[in-house]
């Protein structure tokens, strides 16, 4: 009687451990599946911002004329004095973000951020950073001097992606003149 009971309890414990670990595995699996949907969405939102910046001039001074020397480029990256500023976050329910019309060159997007809601998720936070980079090494550290290359870094954070496990999506694009 005693030994039978011990064997039964042991078998039940083993089965419980097996079921718990399988459940954990399944939960992780479901989490990865759900996150993959949001990753697809965040990448597309980041790409949209890059596509928008691609429609702008390389530099404020390139709007009025040709630039032949790096000294003619903007010394500070961001909105120029006198241009209308945007209060962040830039939000729009009809894809009519203020940056679309108020920003005219790539570096205006330095420090810009917007919040986007999609039909299946959100709000996603999208942040942009622009810096000069050495064109021989565009993926390297930011350049301390003005160059004909500006790197746009877009960082998208979704509330549905656990940032402790998966870092926010980052997209890079280098604009050259």
């Amino acid at each position: 009687m005693e030994s039978n009971l011990l064997l039964t309890v042991g078998a039940m414990a083993l089965l419980a451990i097996f079921i718990l670990s399988t459940n954990r595995l399944l939960l992780n699996n479901n989490e990865i599946v759900s996150e993959s949907e949001y990753i697809v969405s965040t990448v597309s939102l980041g790409q949209t911002l890059i596509d928008e910046v691609k429609t702008k001039y390389f530099d404020e001074n390139a709007i009025t004329g040709n630039i032949t020397s790096t000294s003619q480029l903007s010394s500070t990256l961001g909105r120029e004095t006198g241009e209308t500023s945007i209060s962040f976050p830039d939000t729009s329910s009809i894809s009519n973000f203020l940056s679309n019309t108020l920003y005219d060159d790539v570096d205006d997007y330095n420090g810009y951020w917007r919040v986007v809601r999609t039909p299946r998720g959100g709000p996603d936070t999208i942040r942009a950073r622009v810096e000069y980079v050495d064109l021989t090494n565009p993926g390297g550290a930011a350049s301390g001097v003005r160059t004909f290359g500006k790197r746009l870094t877009v960082r998208v954070k979704s509330p549905y992606i656990d940032s402790t496990k998966i870092p926010p999506v980052q997209l890079f694009y280098v604009f050259t003149y």
């Binding site: 399988t22 597309s44 019309t101 299946r120």
Partner: protein
């Protein structure tokens, strides 16, 4: 008496074990279905996006005279271009049906997305679970417009959901897999 107790006890324990295994089996099946449906939705989405992107980039290609964009609607677009590069200008259109076109499917929101070239095929398409296809048009200054002649870039958003919603364990509502994508296209021939 002791023998009878042992028999009842072991039957209960055996029953519990069988229940636990059945539950586990159901969870595995659930997870596998979710995975398959999500993968299917995402594959459908990426395939469609590739096709739409390719087509929209061709807006105005070789159309040197006349309007390049004919209709610029919120979920309809038609434009002129030489889509097959054979020297003849074609009219390409994307249009959405309403939900009644797929009222027989399990998902009440899915609709048909038609792509036609010179009006044909007029009603040939497959149900990929499209629930939303939305278009926005921008001028060269980035302002929203609905005037076809002012359009310089086009943004489209596409939502795809699973064709077969299903009920998962411990959930009251139906689970619908899906994904959302958006893109801005700047066709070279609209610059």
């Amino acid at each position: 008496m002791a023998y009878l107790l042992e028999l009842v006890g072991s039957t209960i324990i055996g029953g519990l074990v069988i229940l636990m295994i059945l539950q586990l089996n159901s969870s595995i099946l659930d997870s596998s279905t979710t995975l398959s449906m999500d993968k299917l939705s995402q594959t459908n989405l990426t395939s469609l996006v590739e096709e739409i992107e390719y087509d929209l980039r061709k807006i105005g290609f070789k159309a040197t005279t006349g309007a390049k964009i004919i209709t610029a609607g919120t979920n309809t677009i038609s434009y002129r271009c030489d889509i097959d590069n054979n020297g003849t200008i074609d009219t390409v259109a994307y249009l959405m049906s309403d939900t009644t076109a797929l009222s027989s499917t399990a998902n009440p929101r899915d609709r048909l997305l038609y792509r036609t070239v010179n009006g044909s095929p007029s009603n040939l398409t497959s149900n990929l679970g499209v629930t939303n296809f939305r278009l926005w048009y921008y001028t060269s200054g980035g302002a929203l417009t609905t005037t076809a002649s002012q359009v310089r870039s086009v943004k489209f958003a596409l939502t795809i959901e699973g064709v077969y919603p299903f009920r998962r364990q411990f959930e009251d509502t139906l689970y619908v897999s899906g994904a959302y994508i958006e893109r801005i296209i700047q066709p070279n021939n609209l610059r």
